[in-house]
Amino acid sequence: MELVNPGIGLIFWMTLVFAILIIILGKFAWKPIMKALKERETFIDESLKAADKARDEIKDMEFSNEKLMKEAKQEHDAILKQARKTKDSIIEKAREAANEEADRIVENAKERIENEKKAAMTDLKNELADLAIEIAEMILKDELSDIKKQKKYIDKLIDEAQLN
């Protein structure tokens, strides 16, 4: 057989075998293989997408967690602040009340002392007056036992009275 002269038998067998091969491989090999490849590709694609989505969700969750924490902290701070404020005001009020009370007590005490003082002074005055009268009685009794002396004394009293 010549090199460039195709043999009819070979053409016949090649056509037959090649056609059968295309049909057999097409039906039993390429169809399932292409299908499986496609399915696997879509599976991988979807899996990647799902992973991406999950990652996003986690990120979202983390974000919201952070937000919650922040809010909680803020609330906590606010409560603390409020508490401090309340405490301060209570203390302030208490102090004011105590001061007032103390002032009042002091005032009362002062008043009472004054009154006591006045009473004591009055008592003392009375005592003194009595005492003076007694003393004067005794002196007078003593002085006036002698006329000269009486006269002298009377003069002196008059002088004093005139001077006043």
Binding site: P6, F18, I22, F28, A29, L37
Partner: protein
């Protein structure tokens, strides 16, 4: 480290020398002409025998013998201790249609062209060399010297030749391989490929993504995938088998014009049947061309119609020529050994080292060509399909 390298080098050279020696001794019996007295004796009995016995090694003839189709699968020739030449080959079925009758028998009946059977004979010379011819039986019982007359009429030869056998074998192997892989794909659906599957998956994806999708388009490529994949793997597999020097390789399947022609014809058929309205309009009434190129003399349609046939023709010739050329070069290097060996045996051994090196180099290039040609044939087919279904 250096020592290791040295050993490796020595080993490599030794392998080469052994290969050279082996190949010489392997081919030697076939190429040495038989003892002249025996030759003479034989030619007395069988007159057609003489033409087979060349005096010298004819490289061109041997090379062509190796790359063309044949009616038997030649394995080797050897000479036994008595100097008798033996021809070992696998007989193949001969199927002939002649005058409305079907003749079927094994090619061993021809005794490698030394005998005729049932009025048929394997021609060993002349225009019909290698073909089966009809002998006229009436002339066979003539006188003492048997003179055969040859009929000009050739029977229709539908024999399962060496290449046809190789096609059948490789098709069976391809079917087993890919149906097995398909099963694995179904069994291990969403898992990564394994074993042979992972070896072939990149090629399948390559054909799908880089050949079909890019040249036909995302929407329509699926329809052509079975054909393109079959085409690609058939060519690639047979290219590789053609490089294996012994059975079941060694047949020059993709370097045979009938085989490439049939594949090109399939491409042509698919192009013609899948062409849309625009495609045919483009051929018979090419848009964007001045009217005078079409009307009195239909120059453009004629050119387009010729183009219709040159596309598959070029596909056929390209694959055939590339593969055949590669085989011829490799066989040429091997033949050098025998050409020099005929001058002097030592020359033969000497040249064998260089020849084996060059053949090795060529074989490696052929491995590359095996892939490239499968790729080119498939790519061009896909491009033509893409053109026929293109929407303007």
């Amino acid at each position: 480290m250096k020592l290791k390298l040295l050993f490796a080098k020595i080993g490599f050279v030794m392998v080469l020398i052994t290969m050279g020696v082996l190949s010489t001794s392997f081919f030697q019996p076939a190429d040495h002409p038989p003892a002249p007295d025996q030759d003479h004796q034989k030619s007395d009995e069988e007159p057609w025998e003489t033409v087979v016995m060349e005096e010298e090694y004819n490289a061109g003839e041997k090379i062509i013998e190796h790359i063309i189709d044949s009616h038997e699968w030649h394995i080797l020739d050897y000479k036994d201790s008595e100097g008798e030449k033996h021809h070992v080959s696998i007989p193949l079925p001969i199927i002939l249609l002649h005058e409305g009758r079907l003749h079927a028998f094994w090619s061993s009946r021809f005794q490698h062209g030394h005998a005729s059977y049932n009025g048929f004979k394997l021609e060993t010379e002349g225009d019909h060399k290698g073909r089966i011819i009809r002998t006229l039986e009436s002339d066979m019982i003539d006188s003492e010297a048997i003179v055969e007359k040859k009929s000009d009429e050739l029977p229709v030869d539908l024999s399962i030749t060496k290449n046809a056998t190789a096609i059948i074998i490789s098709s069976i192997l391809l079917s087993i391989l890919f149906i097995g892989i398909a099963r694995r794909y179904q069994r291990r659906k969403y898992e990564a490929p394994k074993g042979v599957q992972s070896l072939l998956e990149p090629l399948i994806l390559f054909v799908r993504d880089d050949i079909a999708k890019s040249s036909i388009g995302e929407e329509k490529y699926m329809k052509y995938m079975p054909y393109l994949l079959t085409l690609f793997f058939f060519i690639f597999f047979n290219n590789l088998l053609g490089l294996v020097p012994f059975f079941p390789g060694g047949a020059n399947v993709t370097g045979n014009i009938a085989v490439t022609g049939v594949m090109a014809f399939f491409t042509f058929l698919i192009i013609s049947f899948s062409g849309n309205k625009e495609y045919w309009k483009h051929i018979f009434n090419t848009p964007g061309v001045p009217w005078w190129l079409k009307v009195p003399v239909p120059l453009m349609p004629v050119i387009e119609i010729i183009g219709l046939f040159t596309k598959p023709f070029v596909l056929m010739v390209r694959l055939f020529a590339n593969i055949t050329a590669g085989h011829i070069i490799i066989l040429g290097f091997i033949s050098l050994i025998f050409i020099f060996g005929n001058l002097d045996v030592t020359y033969g051994y000497g040249v064998s080292i260089v020849s084996v090196l060059f053949s090795l180099f060529m074989t490696l290039i052929e491995l590359l060509v095996a892939f490239i040609q499968a790729y080119v044939f498939t790519l061009l087919s896909a491009l033509y399909f893409g053109m026929t279904v293109e929407e303007h």
